[in-house]
Symmetry: C2
DNA sequence: AAAAATATGTGACATTTGCCACAAATGGGT
DNA sequence: ACCCATTTGTGGCAAATGTCACATATTTTT
């Protein structure tokens, strides 16, 4: 338990204390189960402990879009991601079965009298989780702010290969999901990928990608 | 000084201490001055205290894009926004003259032995600033993830009017800047706005916008 | 092992968008 | 009050993108 970012420098016993102090709730979820529904106004922060989840938006016309992929360490909640535009609903759905814990944003940001040491350690750890979230969101904004599908793909590929420090890497999701991530039509993306392959800019077989430029 | 989020529950004297402890640097900037250049690898967190700044990216073809607007309380830095894709440069430029303070990400996340009370208060305050940043980025992702210019505009307008709890509101920037924000061509956006006006969906005069749907 | 569901790949066609060029309006600064 | 820079507004045209429709892998479930 100690190696997970949320629990850094926190012992199991201290975590027990905190659960009482902050009203922490921990739950398991099965695939496709609804973990959280924005608009319920529960004002909670959720943290993915294991498994994975997706934040999806369904607008008034019924279009589904994936706003975020959450892996262990991922955080969500109204205070961390303003959402509810008029009619469309935003939900967090379980993808890979796993555990999620919830704590109140208020309890975290308001200094409490007792157990203040626990408190500050938890805030420190939450700080790194939220900072990581900001990084991921920044990356996505960088990709989405490109004007064309080609530029979006090149930006995303460049980032991924920079992370692994190799020109080749494996996509963390399917090509269909990649189309969602860059917010483009799947078949339009496929067409562009074909062109890019033909021009010798990238090699794509399955989820293996290599930048050859 | 106490009302600014970064300094909540921190007195001027404590702030003096912290500046020594964390090696905080504070500086003033004139309009158009370069505040920060990613890729210098200084690994600092910057916080806008007053004035405003923009985070801009110039890609290898020379295209300029605004990634973020920073107002007082806005934070930036490599650890908070992964950036440097291959050749293109990302910089923070001063817009409205003001002050910025810098502190080391390491000092913030590593528990220090002395002055631990200062430390945890600062982390708490940084937590709220980074959480706010995550919120802003989430909003932008929500807008950018819409497929068409019209949907982007409607999403953005809906968010703004939801904030003010009114159907009318004032744009925080020019229409040109709005085009940058939604990452669309300005004239294409104008064309779409004209159509929307003609259909009676919105009223736009200057920076005044009203949703009439 | 078969069946069902999901993902990949491709093409034709309509629409949207980006790009360019230019005129008018607005806004700061001196 | 003037000038200069920026913003707003508009149109034509080419290129990029989305939509639909379908065939083929691939993966997952039964």
């Amino acid at each position: 338990m100690e190696q997970f970012p949320l629990f850094r420098n926190i012992t199991a016993e201290q975590w027990q204390d905190m659960q009482r102090c902050f009203g922490v709730v921990e739950r398991s979820y099965r695939a496709d189960e609804v973990i959280y529904d924005f608009g319920d106004g529960r004002n909670m922060i959720g943290i993915v402990l294991s498994g994975s989840a997706v934040v999806e938006r369904i607008d008034d016309q019924g279009n589904r879009a994936i706003l975020e992929h959450l892996t262990p360490g991922g955080v969500f909640g109204e205070m961390l991601m303003f959402a509810n535009v008029h009619g469309d609903s935003i939900r967090v759905l379980c993808e890979q079965p796993g555990r999620v814990c919830f704590l109140s944003y208020q309890a975290l940001t308001k200094r409490c009298e007792n157990a203040c040491d626990h408190h500050s350690r938890l805030v420190e750890n939450m700080f790194t989780l939220v900072a990581d979230k900001a990084t991921l969101l920044s990356e996505r904004v960088e990709v989405l702010s490109r004007r064309s599908i080609r530029d979006k793909l090149l930006c995303y590929f460049a980032m991924q290969s920079a992370k692994g420090q190799q020109s080749a890497f494996t996509l963390p999701f399917t090509l269909s999901a990649l189309a969602d991530y860059i917010s483009a039509d799947r078949s339009a993306m496929m067409r562009e990928l074909k062109k890019m392959r033909a021009e010798g800019i990238v090699e794509v077989k399955g989820r293996q990608v290599r930048l050859t430029a």
